[in-house]
Amino acid sequence: MAQLAKILRSLLVRGPVTVLLALVQLLFLLLFGLLAFIVSLLECLRDFLRRRNLKEEEDEDEKCDKPLPEAVNRRPDPCIYSQEYLASQGVPVTWNNPDIWMAKASSPNVIEPDSYHLEANTDYIVSVRCHNASTDLAVGVRVRLLYRPWSFNSPDLLPVSVTADGQEVVRFVNIPGMGATVAQFPWRTPTAAPGQTRHFCLQAHLSHPMDINLENNMGQENTNVHAANPGHVAPGEIVDVDVPLFNNSRRPNRFVFRADAYAVDTAAQVQLELRLNTGTERWPLSKRIGSLVPRFRFAEEHLPESKRESGDDVHPRSSVRRDRLRFTFGFPKRRTVVRARYAGHRSYMKELRGKDFGLPTGMPFDTPGIGDALDLPGGGNHAVPVRLQVPAAAQDGTEYSINVRAEGKGGRLAGGVTFLLRVREP
């Protein structure tokens, strides 16, 4: 009986209605469809006259497989506090990276106040906070943690941790859109001779195949590894450190050195607003005229998906399904693709650019023997003597975060180091 009803409904309702609507479509088609076709021919003629070339244009799409529709793809932006990227935008930077911190493996919940007073030959857990600056989720972000000799820009890099068969330990993390996730690595700090302090620079590298911004993926953190108790400075003490500088290019370069007292402001808040970028299907005039022909299409209904009820038979009810699919008869619409991002960083950037982060009063900075600038041949290197004097009036417990940066031609950041000086009464 149900089958008969279905047949009768097809024959007596759906069929006649479709035929009637097809007649309406036919009338519009004869009017606008033919007009659209004529306009399309004129467009082809116009294009031909513009190119004046009978040769067909190469279609790049034919060369490789078409990607999936944009609405299906997810494009993350894994990122980390990246000195080079920030400096390229003219904002001050520190090598005391807010996204990298440490704790002793024996007391993993006690985070070291900074990475400048670490003990040598000791097991630490290095935490790397990985961010995602996209509205899309980032899954499978590869995180590498490497270290290199302390320097402005040494090219030598070693993994902080390797497996039993000598392979680098890497982490894969998932980062929510506009969120952050922490990856952790074990690191046994290198040994140091009695009384010696060794300097290292940690580098965290993030990577993802669909990354929309490859420039904010590498962050650095300066560390100091001490043989015995971590060192402190006294008021008036002169800190002399030789920092290796490498000219990693093949051409000679002139480097200048600058120091500032910039430190990341952890209290400030930045308000970000959602922006949408709507892409609308390109329609030439002929297509627009053609769109005046009504036709059947899928109804644009976005009903909330019902969730699985635990413990029940999970198939959906027919009544739910019946409401979902509907054909309508009307004019076709242009298809759209919508991308999103959160914007609003500009005001904070302006604020940073406008602030003075000069050295504290009574703290001179010098690079003895270097003068105004240092010329290095391509591939050359030099140990740059950096001298800072702790202010004589510095109070016990005061902490100074001093950044020294090497800039190449055009003010381009070649590298930098951050000195974290904690004052203790002599």
């Binding site: 607003e273 198939h315 009810r317 739910v320 759209t336």
Partner: protein
């Protein structure tokens, strides 16, 4: 959240989901007749559907019911294809992880299809397991009675089982070419016992199905564990009907053809053949049928896979273009036959007009690419987008999000359809001509930096899918607050993400 992705095909519940053989409606009645008797079907359609109306109403008016009948059938087909063809397994979207075996490519219906080797299975493991399984059933495969399957074989062994080298992937003396040759040998053997039915291109022989089911039983065995001792069957429900997810005896359970017989010693020597048969609700001939595997099988690479499709709507456009064309024919014919013209003029002119209208509407709908699930050529408000489009490559490890369904066509398989979100986790490709067929040693050599199927475990699937479910759920608000270090970590700049954002409401 509703994403900016058009959706065309919807799944339906048990009892409503039908294959083309059990379609229902006017078209279904004709199809039923066809499967009962092709002569009877032609007679009924020809005489009752066309001739009698023509005789009763005359050719000029008889064309009207004939037109309505044909258009009804076209619309029945369209509705069935997009509404009644797919069976919902769960009334929610699912998330699966696996390695892409083939680049997404266009299907005949405009969908973009891709196949996933579900994690944590790898090509070497699948080969070794299949090899071991077939060797264990050598006696069965060389017994005539095994091939007593009248739809395909007449009770004699079609080709002797050639045996397989189970250790070829770990044998240091064997070269990649030897391994590939061994795989080809096995693939050729399986093709030989697959059988063929000229009346049903999707049907495969009982023994061919049984070997796949037994092989899958080995892969999904809880004793098949990774290096950490964890079972590898954590995504097994997409390969085999799982009573832990589908209640046995429920209408849904009964709507999925049986794909496993717990009483059969699948992993025993010569045990991979079940006597169990059942009526398949989506078939009409050769009932009852033997077990029906719910996964698909790559016959060349010897891999099980989950089929996934991004929705296109080519068939919808085609059915509507045909409806318009048939209506044009009917109107033109009815009008012309009233005029004093030779009898051949009306059908000829009407057919030409119908063809021209069909071609015009086809052109308006987008020509040969109409309805394909391809990227849309769009013009953005802000043209400063990221550069090239992300390519989907063979060997990518991906997470796919969408409804889990069973296609009632193609001998019934589980699918993710339509794919609503595609997350790439890692590039696994090693060359343009991707082939994952490496030995375990080759895989070890490739290092831990590459995220691939073998590195995926249940915890990772759970973490990724939880994140995906959350990301595809609620969106953050229009305004968010972030502390200054986070803003700096973003690089004080953000770029436009993927194009799956819901369209703004105007």
């Amino acid at each position: 959240m509703p994403r900016g992705l058009p959706r065309f095909a919807y799944c339906t519940g048990p009892g409503d989901a039908r294959s083309h053989k059990t379609i229902g409606g006017l078209l279904g009645a004709v199809m039923s007749l066809w499967f009962t008797s092709k002569v009877l079907a032609i007679f009924v359609v020809g005489v009752l559907g066309l001739l009698i109306p023509m005789l009763l109403l005359g050719p000029c008016f008889g064309i009207i019911p004939a037109t309505i009948a044909i258009v009804s059938m076209l619309q029945d087909f369209k509705e069935w294809y997009y509404r009644d063809r797919l069976l919902c397994i769960e009334d929610r979207d699912n998330c699966v992880l696996g390695s892409v075996l083939h680049k997404p490519e266009a299907s005949l219906d405009g969908d973009r299809k891709m196949d996933l080797l579900l994690a944590p299975f790898t090509e070497p493991e699948c080969f070794e397991t299949l090899c071991r399984h077939l060797n264990a059933n050598q006696g069965l495969l060389n017994t005539d009675a095994t091939f007593n399957d009248p739809q395909f074989f007449g009770g004699t062994v079609p080709v002797a089982y050639p045996g397989c080298d189970e250790d070829i992937l770990t044998d240091p003396n064997k070269k990649p070419a030897d391994r590939r040759a061994e795989r080809t040998k096995l693939a050729d053997y399986l093709k030989a016992i697959k059988g063929s039915d000229p009346n049903d291109g999707d049907a495969t022989s009982k023994v061919y199905n049984a070997m796949q089911i037994g092989w899958m039983d080995r892969l999904l065995d809880p004793g098949n564990t990774n290096s950490a001792g964890q079972p590898k069957n954590f995504q097994g429900r997409y390969f085999r009907k799982d009573p832990a997810f589908i209640t046995p005896g429920s209408t849904l359970w009964n709507a999925i053809p049986p794909d496993f017989d717990p009483g059969t010693p699948w992993q025993g020597t010569d045990g991979s053949l079940s006597p169990l048969t059942a009526n398949n609700p989506y078939e009409v001939e050769h009932q009852p049928r033997p077990l029906n595997a719910m996964f698909r099988f790559d016959q060349d690479r010897l891999l099980p896979y989950l089929h996934c499709e991004v929705d296109g709507n080519y068939l919808q456009l085609l059915m509507d273009e045909l409806s318009l064309s048939v209506t044009t024919f009917g109107i033109a014919y009815g009008f012309l036959c009233l005029l004093p013209l030779p009898p051949w003029v009306a059908p000829l002119v009407a057919a030409i007009l119908a063809l021209l209208i069909f071609l015009l509407q086809r052109w308006l709908d987008g020509g040969s690419d109409r309805g394909d699930a391809d990227p849309v050529d769009v013009e953005f408000d802000d043209p400063e987008n990221f550069g090239e489009d992300g390519q989907q490559l063979d060997g990518d490890l991906v997470a796919i999000f969408g409804p889990w369904i069973m296609d009632t066509e193609h001998a019934q398989y589980f699918e993710i359809h339509p794919v609503k979100a595609y997350y790439i986790l890692g590039r696994n490709a090693r060359s343009g001509d991707i082939d994952l067929f490496d030995s375990a040693a080759d895989q070890r050599k490739s290092g831990t930096e590459r995220l691939h199927n073998a590195l995926v475990d249940a915890a990772m699937v759970s973490a990724v899918c939880e994140a995906v479910n959350e990301a595809e759920g609620e969106d953050p608000g229009p305004v968010i607050l972030r502390d200054a270090p986070t803003a700096l970590s973003h690089g004080l700049k953000t770029r436009w993400g993927g194009g799956g954002w819901p369209a703004p409401v105007k």
